[in-house]
């Protein structure tokens, strides 16, 4: 497929009560839109785990749409508020990987908005077509991109980020256990740090998946400064996920702890 006739592959997650129904209405109304999109139906947009988005990119899909009910009208009352926060975090992680975060599109479509659904699909397909195949905006080769995406997916599957995402609303809009409100800035800063850390840890784990490596070797392979690698390696060792296989001269080598 040349750059001239690149046709993007788009995946959409649509919720049963609103956006999926809106897409059906577009059909009933015979509103035409590009054929690139494939839809997975879920009962609520809140079913969409951020790891699903990353899986889609790992599989080479060029763009993902997540469409739910308009805020305040979710069939399950507050589901889409969760979707909003989770997808916001997913975008941060996608950006961290090096991809254009616009490859994830999140919006709200009601069951009566067939036209709106079709317009979103048309616009998004065009946008991805212009962005090019997945990874074009990065300088990474396919293998590096894939390994970064896998690390990102695994980071999103870990409890740290998931817990913070789940607690954001109450901490920022209501109160923490001390009765205080956490500012959005404070929260975002913590989230940023956590994403950095978790992503780095996962990349490190992937890098020593086949062979044991030293901190320097890992740093070189991943393009991360050695002191940062070391900090994360220590954390991974305390978690019990990696262990020292041996010391080569002055250099400890680390491998994944296999059970």
């Amino acid at each position: 497929m040349t750059a001239y006739n690149f046709e993007p592959e788009i995946l959409g997650f649509l919720c049963n009560w609103c956006s999926y129904a809106g897409a059906d209405l577009a059909g009933v109304s015979r509103i035409q839109y590009p054929t690139n999109i494939r839809i997975i139906r879920v009962m609520c947009s809140a079913r969409v785990d951020p790891t699903f988005i990353l899986e889609a990119f790992i599989q080479g899909i060029d763009g993902v749409m997540v469409l739910g009910c308009h805020l305040g009208t979710c069939h399950y009352l507050t589901g889409n508020y969760n979707t909003e926060r989770r997808m916001k975090t997913a975008k941060k992680v996608i950006k961290k990987v090096g991809l254009d975060a616009e490859r994830l599109f999140v919006d709200w479509v009601s069951a009566a908005e067939g036209e709106r659904f079709a317009t979103f699909v048309k616009k998004f397909t065009d946008k991805i077509r212009n962005l090019g195949p997945l990874g074009k905006e990065t300088a990474f080769d396919n293998e590096t991109l894939k390994s970064r995406l896998v690390a990102a997916k695994e980071a999103l599957a870990q409890d740290k980020i998931r817990w913070l995402v789940g607690r954001e609303r109450e901490l920022v809009e209501e109160k923490n256990v001390f009765g205080e409100k956490v500012t959005q800035e404070e929260f975002d800063k913590l989230m940023h740090q956590t994403i950095e850390k978790e992503f780095a840890k996962r990349r490190i784990l992937l890098s020593i998946d086949k062979n044991a490596l030293s901190v320097k070797e890992i740093a070189q392979k991943l393009g991360i400064p050695t002191n940062v690698v070391l900090k994360n390696v220590m954390a991974l060792e305390s978690d019990g996920l990696i262990s020292v296989i041996g010391i080569d001269g002055n250099t400890p080598k680390y491998q994944i702890t296999r059970v």
Binding site: E9, Q32, Y33, I40, Y76, L77, R162, G166
Partner: protein, 557 residues
């Protein structure tokens, strides 16, 4: 695991699909997919013929997964699930692929691309179907008893209504006698009947009905359980007892705001409408020159709502005073006269005809109550008036009871920013809570007139009687399943569930999440957020969704 055998049925839907996609090609393609043992094309899969073909194939070809590629699951999934069930196949082993509303109808001018899309969708559908598991809907018995909290007009009405339908009711009242706010009212608008007569009549009906047990001087200490199986702990005087119930109705009413800080309120010359009511009942209103101020403490920043009942109440009381004493001079100061409907508008007309004066004021220039007279800027006249008075009556709003939040927490139901109970949906489910089995009516929900409180009570008891009439509730099959090995009891699922359907409980292995299937709606938000990925969502598992994504990305042969 026994062999998975998938049957794929591709529908023409007349020409709706067949005219825009290459259906024979799709059928051929489906047969090439792994695990597919049988394929067929139908003119209308949803017709009697189509359905019997599916049933026949299940039995003759021993299919254990059915995939229908046709219109949309939103209209036809239940139909095909029933067909599977009739052929002895668990209805949750059925998979729908939408190749009409989301394919042939929206890609009418590119048969090749549309057919390729349909192939991808069928491939994704089959990949999902392979991972489907049989699911059961369980029936949970419902206790045919009700607890009604609050012995005012709405509480009494719902108790009588439920008892007449054959259910046992416990009617709980905090004070010493039934009647609620009605005990403080004089005459009711627009009919001018005595409030006390209404109370006596209702109490009479209750006493005659052996199914209603009244507990006065009683309070709810705690509530446990779920729909059909609630346990309510009640303290009467100093005795504590547990009552089991299938449903609970909240009818705790509301208070009237006492404006200690407004309009020089002193409880003697400046009083509330409720205090006027009590005085009228005792025949103690001697004042000649009376001024009523509407929206006193309502539609303000602190209480930004209209309390609905104050305008008709003011009109009623003004008319009562005027009828008794034609020489009295009455003024009603208003921002908007809220008299909706037929009878209230009539009341307004009558009041004007009776010579009651109406002055429109604006919230930017509130009336000022001084020692002997009141100053108000008449918006319509465009002038400031000074009105001498003997009595100023403040029409203050209804406010939520001070303990509404406390009771709400015990019931695990929400209240809004004003403290009134928050219904499941203000239009579609106005007397339900999102938590199944608990209902609300009357002023506990929002300021209401007596007739509205009665209507809502009928509504709440009608809704409450549904699970009790049926005798059971069916559990949602699309429930989360918790892996207790992975669950750390962090509680995130419980915090984010809108239906209180997953709770952390102390178990052998520590704090673990526990699913209440009767309350679950299957949205999946707990599963997608669990930090330990300890939750599997039945029928929409992670594995299934990932399988669909991977099936999509596969290079087609």
């Amino acid at each position: 695991m026994s062999e998975v055998r998938v049957g794929v049925f591709v529908c023409h839907c007349g020409t709706n699909i067949g005219g825009f996609l290459d259906v024979p090609e799709l059928v051929k393609y489906a047969l090439s997919l792994p695990n597919v043992a049988f394929t067929q094309e139908n003119k209308y899969t949803c017709s009697e013929t189509g359905l019997s073909e599916i049933k026949k194939a299940i039995l003759e070809i021993q299919l254990n997964r059915i995939v229908v590629a046709s219109c949309t699951p939103r209209t036809h999934e239940p139909l095909f699930r029933s067909a599977c069930k009739e052929a002895g196949l668990n209805p949750f082993l059925f998979q729908f692929v939408n190749i009409r509303d989301q394919c042939s109808w929206v890609h009418m001018h590119d048969k090749e691309a549309a057919t390729k899309k349909a192939k991808d969708l069928i491939r994704m559908g089959v990949a999902n179907a392979v991972l489907l598991e049989p699911l059961e809907e369980l029936k949970i018995d419902v206790n045919p008893k009700a607890v009604v909290i609050g012995g005012g007009i709405s509480g009494m009405t719902s108790a009588i209504s439920l008892a007449n339908r054959g259910f046992e009711v416990r009617l709980i009242e905090k004070s010493e006698k039934l009647g609620g706010t009605l005990n403080n009212l004089y005459k009711l608008y627009p009919t001018q009947i005595d409030a006390s007569n209404l109370v006596t009549a209702k109490i009479g009906e209750i006493e005659k009905n052996s199914r209603i047990k009244v507990l006065t001087s009683s309070q709810v200490l705690d509530v446990d359980g779920f729909v059909g199986n609630y346990t309510v702990k009640i303290k009467q005087n100093n005795k504590v007892q547990n009552y089991d119930a299938g449903v609970i109705i909240v009818a705790t009413g509301a208070d009237v705001y006492k404006p200690s800080d407004l309009y020089s309120y002193d409880g003697e010359r400046v009083i509330t409408q409720l205090e006027l009511e009590k005085a009228l009942k005792r025949g103690e209103v001697k004042a000649q020159r009376i001024i009523m101020i509407q929206c006193a403490g309502a539609r303000t920043k602190e209480r930004p709502y209209c309390s609905k009942v104050c305008c008709p109440t003011a009109l009623k009381n003004a008319l009562l005073i005027k009828e008794k004493n034609d020489d009295s001079q009455l003024y009603i100061l208003y921002r908007d006269m809220v008299t909706p409907g037929t009878e209230f508008e009539d009341l307004y007309g009558k009041a004007r005809e009776a010579g009651i004066n109406f002055i429109k004021y604006s919230p930017e220039k509130e009336p000022i109550v001084e020692n002997e007279s009141l100053k108000v800027y008449d918006e319509l006249l465009g002038e400031e008036l000074t009105l001498p008075y003997d009595l100023v009556v403040l029409s203050t709003p209804m406010v939520a009871r001070s303990d509404s939040k406390e009771l709400a927490q015990k019931l695990k139901v929400p209240v809004d920013e004003h403290g009134f109970y928050l219904e499941a949906h203000v239009k579609l489910r106005p007397v339900d809570f999102a938590t199944d089995g608990i209902f609300v009516c009357g002023c506990a929900h929002w300021p209401s007139n007596v007739d509205e409180s009665i209507f809502q009570a009928y509504g709440a008891s009608s809704r409450a009687s549904i699970p009790m009439s049926v005798g059971y509730v069916t559990t949602e099959p699309l429930i989360p399943v918790v892996d207790e090995e992975k669950c750390t009891g962090c509680g995130l699922c419980e915090m984010n569930c809108p239906f209180k359907a997953i709770k952390i409980e102390k178990k052998e292995k520590g704090r673990k999440a526990n699913v209440i299937a009767a309350s679950c709606k299957g949205c999946g938000t707990c599963g997608a957020g669990c930090p330990q990925k300890a939750i599997t969502m039945k029928h929409f598992t992670d594995d299934q969704i990932i399988a669909q994504v991977r099936a999509l990305a596969e290079v087609t042969s």
